[in-house]
Amino acid sequence: MATHAKAAAIALLDGPILTRAMADAVRKLDPRQLVRNPVIFVTEAISALVTVLGLRTIATGGSGGFALAIAAFLWLTVLFATFAEAVAEGRGRARADSLRRARTETLAKRLLNPADRALFEPTRANDLAVGDHVLVEAGDLIPSDGEVAEGMASVNESAITGESAPVIREAGGDRSAVTGGTQVVSDWLVVRITAAPGATFLDRMIRLVEGAERRKTPNEIALDILLAGLTIIFLIAVVTLVGLAHYSGTALGVPVLAALLVCLIPTTIGGLLSAIGIAGMDRLVRFNVMATSGRAVEAAGDVDTLLLDKTGTITLGNRMAAAFIPAPGVSERDLAEAVVLASLGDETPEGRSILAFARDRYAIAPTRPETATIVPFTAQTRLSGLDHDGHSWRKGAVDSVRQWLGGAEAPAGFTAAAERIARAGGTPLAVARDRQLLGAIELKDIVKSGIRERFAELRRMGIRTVMVTGDNRLTAAAIASEAGVDDFIAEATPQDKLTYIRRVQGEGRLVAMAGDGTNDAPALAQADVGMAMQTGTQAAREAGNMVDLDSDPTKLIEVVEIGKQLLITRGALTTFSIANDISKYFAILPAIFVAAYPELGALNVMHLASPQSAILAAVIFNALIIVALVPLALRGVRFRPIGASALLRRNLLVYGLGGIVAPFAGIKLIDTLLALTGLA
C-alpha cells in the first residue's frame, strides 16, 4: 500500500497528463455530458446566465464588470470540476495506451480441423469466432482469450500482469486459461477461443482503465440524489429570496443571487464525485487488480466476511516438518538418520522440508549411499524410501507405512504421538526400517508471520475472517486458533463454500473470497466480491468480479481497504462541502442585505472589506477549493484500521469541523487580497 500510494503521488504531478486534462476539461463543458452531474450542470447554466446578463449590461452602456467577474469565477468553478474528472481519467489512460500496444493486430492460425495441427488458415484476430481453434507456436501472440485444448507451453503474460517470468499453460486442470495479447515463449498450444472480438479480457481492461464503461455505482447514485435534493432546496431558498427582498425594499440582482446559490449548493463534492470514483478504480488497477465494475470496488468496502483459503493465504504454501518423534526404544539420532534416508526419494515440498529440518536440527546431510536404490514418492503408494545393503527404509502416510510393515500392531507410544500430532492440526508421517516402526514425523502448517495481527486488524474494522480448508475439523480448528480467524469451514467442498456464502449473505453480510479453480466458480459468482486469480481457469475469471493479476489471494485484504478508502473519501468531501455553507452565509448575507438594513452589517463577522469583495471572495473560495482538493480526491483519504467509532471521530473532526472553520479563514484571506489589490 505504501509503495502504491507513492506511485500515485508521482503520477499526480505528471506534466503530459495535466496538459491533456486541461484540454479535456474544456471539452467536458458540453452540457450534454455535464447533465449527468446535476450540481455542476446547474452551476454551468447559471454561469451562462450571468455571463449573458453581464454582457448585455455592458452592451447597453451599464457597468457589468462585477457581474462578469462573478461569471468568470463561476465558469472557473465548472472548469475545475471537469478538470478534476479529466485528471482522474488521464491517469488511467496512460495505462490503457500501454495495454493497447499488446492488442496489435496479429494473424491467427485458425485450424480447419481442431484435431489436425498441420492444416490452418491465417485469420485476422478480429475475425475469430467463439469456438474456433487456433494454433499458437513459440513467438506467436495469443490472438484472443481461450482455453488450451491441447499442448503445454510457457507463456509470457507480462503485457497483462507486468510479471516477466513466463508461466506454464496446459490443457486440462486449473492452468488452462490463456489471455489474448500474451506471448507463447516455448512449445505450442491449440487454443479454443472463448471470447468474441472486442470482448476479450484485454479489451475489458482497456475500457475499464479509460473509464469508458464507467457507470454510476449504487452509492454514487444515492449521493447524487442527496446533492440534487440539496441543490433544489437552495434553489428554493434563493429564488424566494427575490420576493422577501422585494418586500424589504431591496432589489437583488441576478449575479448576486447566482453567487449565493452556487456558494450554497454542494459544488465541492459535486465537482469531485466522479474523480473520486475513477481514482478509486485506478488505485485498484495500480494495485494490479482488475475490477469489472465500480460496483465491485464499492462492495469491497462493504464486505464484512472474508473467505480465505488456508493454503497459500493463511499458511505458507506447504506443510513443513516440525519434529521427529522416536518410537519407544529408538534414539532420536537413529530416527533422524533413517528419516533422511527414507526421504531422499521424496521430491515433494514436504519431503524437501523434512530433509531441511534434519539438516538444520541434527546436522545430517542428505547424502545418498553409492549403491542405494531410491524408491520415489508417488501419490498412489504415498511412500518414499531407499533400499541399500539389504536394508529398506520407508517413510510415508501412517496407514501406508503400516501396510508396508504388514499390518503389525504399532507400539502404543507411536499411536499416542500420531494422535497428538493430528489433534494439534499437524499431519503425522511414519518412518520404518526393515519391518520396524522407528517413529513419527510431525508435519505442520506454518502460519504466515504477521497474519494473526492482520486478522486482529480486520476484526477491529468489523470484518470476520473465515478459513476454508480441505482438512478435517480437528486440524482446521487447530490452525484456525493459531491464525486467529473467526470461523472456519473444514473438509470444504465447493458446494460447502457456496452454501456458507449464501447463509451469511442471508444474515445481511457481504462476502468476499478469492479463488482460481473451475470448481470455485459458483462461489466466486455468489460472493459479493469474487477475486479470481489471473493464473486461474477461464471459468473462475469469468465468475468473479475482480481478477488479481499477481494471483495473490492475500491481496483481498488490501482490496477491502481500497474499497473503504473510496467510500471514506466520498463521505469526507461531502461532509466538508456541506459544512462550508455556514461561513458562506456569513460572507454573503450581510453583503446583499446591507443596502436594505445597514444594521445587518453586524453579521459580517469576518469584517470583509466591502459587499462586492465579500461576494467575490466567497465565489473565488468556492472555485479554488475544488482544485485544492483534487489531490485528496485522487489520492483518497487514508484508511486507518482503528474501528468505526474512532475513525468517525477523527474524520468528523477533520472534515466536519475543518469544513466549518477552513472557509472562514480562506474567504477572509481572499477578501484581504482583493482589497489590497484594489480589485473589488
Partner: protein
C-alpha cells in the same frame, strides 16, 4: 435571567422526563398488543370495536395499504369536520344560534384540525358552539394525534427486524393508541384541570356585574377536556382565541406546569417507545439527547432575549430589569412564558400563553426556528419522531460513509431509494414555507393583511407559513389570517406539511422494513454515542435550519439590529 427562573425551567423539564419514560414504554407495549394495566378494563372494548369494524388486528399491512388506510380515514374526517363546521346552525348544542363557517374558513379550520395543526383563523368563543368544539374539534384532536403516533410506530417497526413485508395494522395501531394512551391520560388530565379551575360545562357564558356595575358576559364551555387533549396530542387549538393565555384555559402556575408536561409527555416518551421497539434503548436515548440539546438551547436563547428590556420601552421610562413583559401574563412571568412557548413550538402543539408578536425579535425567532427545523425536536406526537428519524437517516448517510461502509442506521442500509424518499419529504419545508411567504409578500392585497411594516411584518408572514407547514398552529398574531388567499394557501401549506411529508415517510418505512438487518460489528457506524448526537445536531442545523437563514436575516435578525439601533417602522 434569574436563578429562580432557571430553577423553574430545570424542575419542569426534569418532571417531564420522569413522566415521559413510563408513558413511552406503555405506548410501546400498547401498540405491540402486549398486556398493560389497562387491559382488564379496556381489552373487551377493544375487541368489540374490532368486531364491529370487521378488523383483524393481526393482519399486517404493507406500506401502501397502511398509507391508504391512513389517508382515507383522514380524508373522511376532513369531510366530516368540514360539514359540521358549515352546518353548525342546524346541529344540536348550539344555544347561541351561531351561524356556520364560511366555506373558505371551514376548509382552513377542517384542514387545520385534521393535520394536527390547529391554526385558528377564527375566535373560538364567538364562532363555534359547544357542540362544534366538542364533537367537531375535540374528537378530531384524538384522531390526528393517533394518526401521527401510528405512523411513527410503523417507521420504528421497520428498524426492528429484517425482511418484513408489513408495517403493522393501521386500524389496530390507531385503536390501541386512542384507547390505551390518549383517552385515559386525557380524562385524568382533564379532571385535574377542572380541579385547577378550568371550566367543563355546556353553558356558553356567565353574566356578571363588575364592581363598577357594568354588565359583562364571560364566555365558557366544555374547556377542560379539550384542553387536555389539546396539549396531550400536541394539537394546540384552544377553546378561546387567547389560547393558554386565557385564565379559563390556563388559570395558574400549576395548570401551566401540567399543560407543559402534557405537551412534552408523548413526543419525549416516544423516544423511549422507539428504543423499546427497535430493541436497543440507547438508540432512543441518543434521540432524546438531541432533543434535549435543542430544547435547552432554545430556552436559553429565548430567555436571554426576553430578559432584556425593549429599548423603545426603556426610553419611555419602563424599568429595564423587568425584562420584556409586553404581551406576557404576569401570573406566569418571563421564565414560564418562555418555557411554555418553547415547549409548544418545539412540539407541533402551538398553544401559547403569551403574545409571540410582542416577544423581542430574537425571542420570537426561537419559536419560528424551532418549527422551521421541521418540528422534529421533539415535534408533534409521532410526526416529530418520524421527522427526526428522516434527519437521522440523512445524517448517517452523509457522515456514515466516513467509516468506509455503505451507511446503515440500526442495521438497515441507506441506499438511493431511502435518500430519495427522505429528500422528498425534507423538500416540502422550504417549498411551502419560503414559497408561501415570498408569494404572499409580493401580492399587494395580501401584504395588506400585515399588522406591521418593516421586518416585523415579514416575520408575521414567515411565521404564518412556518406554523402552517410545520403543523404547529401557533400564530405570531398581527396578521389578519381570515382572508381568501391566506385561508386557502395556509390550508394547502398544512396539507403539504402533514401528508406530503407523511407519505414518503411511510414509503421509506416500507423500503426499510423489507431490508435485511445487518448485524452490528466494530465496523458499524455507532448511532448511540455522543458523537452521533453531535453529528445529528449539526446535520439538523445545517440541512434543516440554514436554508431559512436568508429569510430570518430579513425578518427577526434585521428587526433585532434595527431595534437596538433605535429605529422603528
Amino acid at each position: 435571567m434569574t436563578i429562580s427562573g432557571w430553577a423553574e425551567v430545570a424542575l419542569t423539564l426534569a418532571l417531564i422526563l420522569l413522566a415521559a419514560w413510563p408513558v413511552g414504554l406503555h405506548i410501546a407495549r400498547a401498540v405491540e398488543g402486549e398486556r398493560t394495566f389497562l387491559h382488564p378494563i379496556l381489552a373487551p372494548l377493544e375487541r368489540v370495536l374490532y368486531a364491529a369494524a370487521g378488523v383483524d388486528p393481526e393482519r399486517g399491512m404493507g406500506w401502501q395499504s397502511y398509507a391508504s388506510a391512513l389517508l382515507v380515514l383522514n380524508a373522511l374526517h376532513f369531510l366530516m369536520l368540514y360539514a359540521m363546521l358549515r352546518l353548525q346552525w342546524v346541529l344540536p348544542l348550539n344555544p347561541d344560534h351561531l351561524a356556520g363557517m364560511s366555506p373558505r374558513l371551514a376548509f382552513n379550520t377542517a384542514m387545520s384540525f385534521v393535520t394536527n395543526t390547529n391554526w385558528q383563523a377564527y375566535s373560538g368563543e364567538t364562532t363555534l358552539s359547544p357542540g362544534s368544539q366538542m364533537w367537531g374539534l375535540t374528537s378530531h384532536m384524538f384522531v390526528s394525534a393517533g394518526t401521527g403516533i401510528a405512523a411513527a410506530v410503523a417507521l420504528a417497526r421497520a428498524f426492528a427486524r429484517g425482511g418484513m413485508e408489513t408495517l403493522g395494522n393501521f386500524w389496530a395501531d390507531l385503536t390501541r393508541i386512542v384507547l390505551y394512551v390518549l383517552v385515559p391520560i386525557a380524562i385524568v388530565a382533564g379532571l385535574a384541570l377542572v380541579a385547577l379551575g378550568v371550566p367543563q360545562t355546556l353553558a356558553t357564558h356567565a353574566d356578571a356585574t363588575t364592581l363598577e356595575g357594568a354588565q359583562q358576559t364571560i364566555s365558557m364551555g366544555p374547556v377542560a377536556l379539550m384542553e387536555a387533549i389539546k396539549e396531550l396530542g400536541t394539537n394546540g387549538g384552544g377553546y378561546f382565541n387567547a389560547n393558554s393565555a386565557h385564565p379559563f384555559e390556563n388559570p395558574n402556575a400549576w395548570s401551566s406546569l401540567l399543560e407543559m408536561l402534557l405537551v412534552f409527555l408523548i413526543p419525549i416518551g416516544l423516544t423511549f417507545t422507539f428504543g423499546r421497539i427497535v430493541g436497543d434503548p440507547r438508540q432512543g436515548h441518543a434521540l432524546l439527547a438531541v432533543i434535549g440539546i435543542f430544547v435547552v438551547a432554545a430556552v436559553a436563547c429565548a430567555y436571554a432575549a426576553e430578559a432584556h428590556a425593549n429599548p423603545l420601552l426603556t426610553a419611555l421610562g419602563v424599568d429595564p430589569p423587568q425584562g420584556n413583559l409586553e404581551g406576557k401574563e404576569i401570573r406566569f412571568g418571563i421564565p414560564l412564558s418562555v418555557l411554555f412557548n418553547v415547549i409548544t413550538t418545539a412540539t407541533s402543539c402551538g398553544a401559547v400563553n403569551a403574545m409571540l408578536d410582542s416577544f423581542m425579535p430574537l425571542g420570537g425567532m426561537v419559536p419560528m426556528f424551532l418549527i422551521q427545523l421541521g418540528e422534529i425536536v421533539p415535534g408533534g406526537v409521532g410526526s416529530g419522531l418520524y421527522g427526526l428519524l428522516v434527519f437521522a437517516l440523512l445524517a448517517v448517510f452523509v457522515a456514515g460513509l466516513m467509516v468506509g461502509r455503505t451507511p446503515e442506521y440500526l442495521g438497515k442500509k441507506i441506499q438511493a431509494k431511502e435518500v430519495k424518499l427522505a429528500m422528498l419529504a425534507v423538500l416540502i419545508l422550504p417549498l411551502s414555507i419560503l414559497g408561501g411567504t415570498a408569494l404572499s409578500l409580493v401580492l399587494p392585497q395580501v401584504a395588506a393583511s400585515l399588522g406591521n411594516a418593516g421586518p416585523h411584518g415579514l416575520s408575521e408572514m414567515l411565521y404564518a407559513f412556518t406554523s402552517a407547514t410545520g403543523n404547529n398552529g401557533s400564530a405570531f398574531a398581527g396578521l389578519s389570517a381570515d382572508t381568501p388567499w391566506l385561508d386557502t394557501t395556509l390550508g394547502i401549506a398544512m396539507l403539504l406539511g402533514r401528508f406530503a411529508f407523511l407519505v414518503p415517510v411511510l414509503a421509506l418505512a416500507g423500503s426499510l422494513a423489507a431490508k435485511v438487518k445487518v448485524p452490528a460489528s466494530s465496523g458499524t457506524f455507532p448511532t448511540h454515542g455522543p458523537l452521533f448526537v453531535g453529528l445529528l445536531v449539526g446535520v439538523i442545523v445545517i440541512l434543516g435550519g440554514l436554508q431559512f437563514m436568508p429569510a430570518l436575516a430579513l425578518g427577526p435578525l434585521a428587526e433585532h439590529f434595527v431595534l437596538f439601533a433605535g429605529k422603528t417602522y
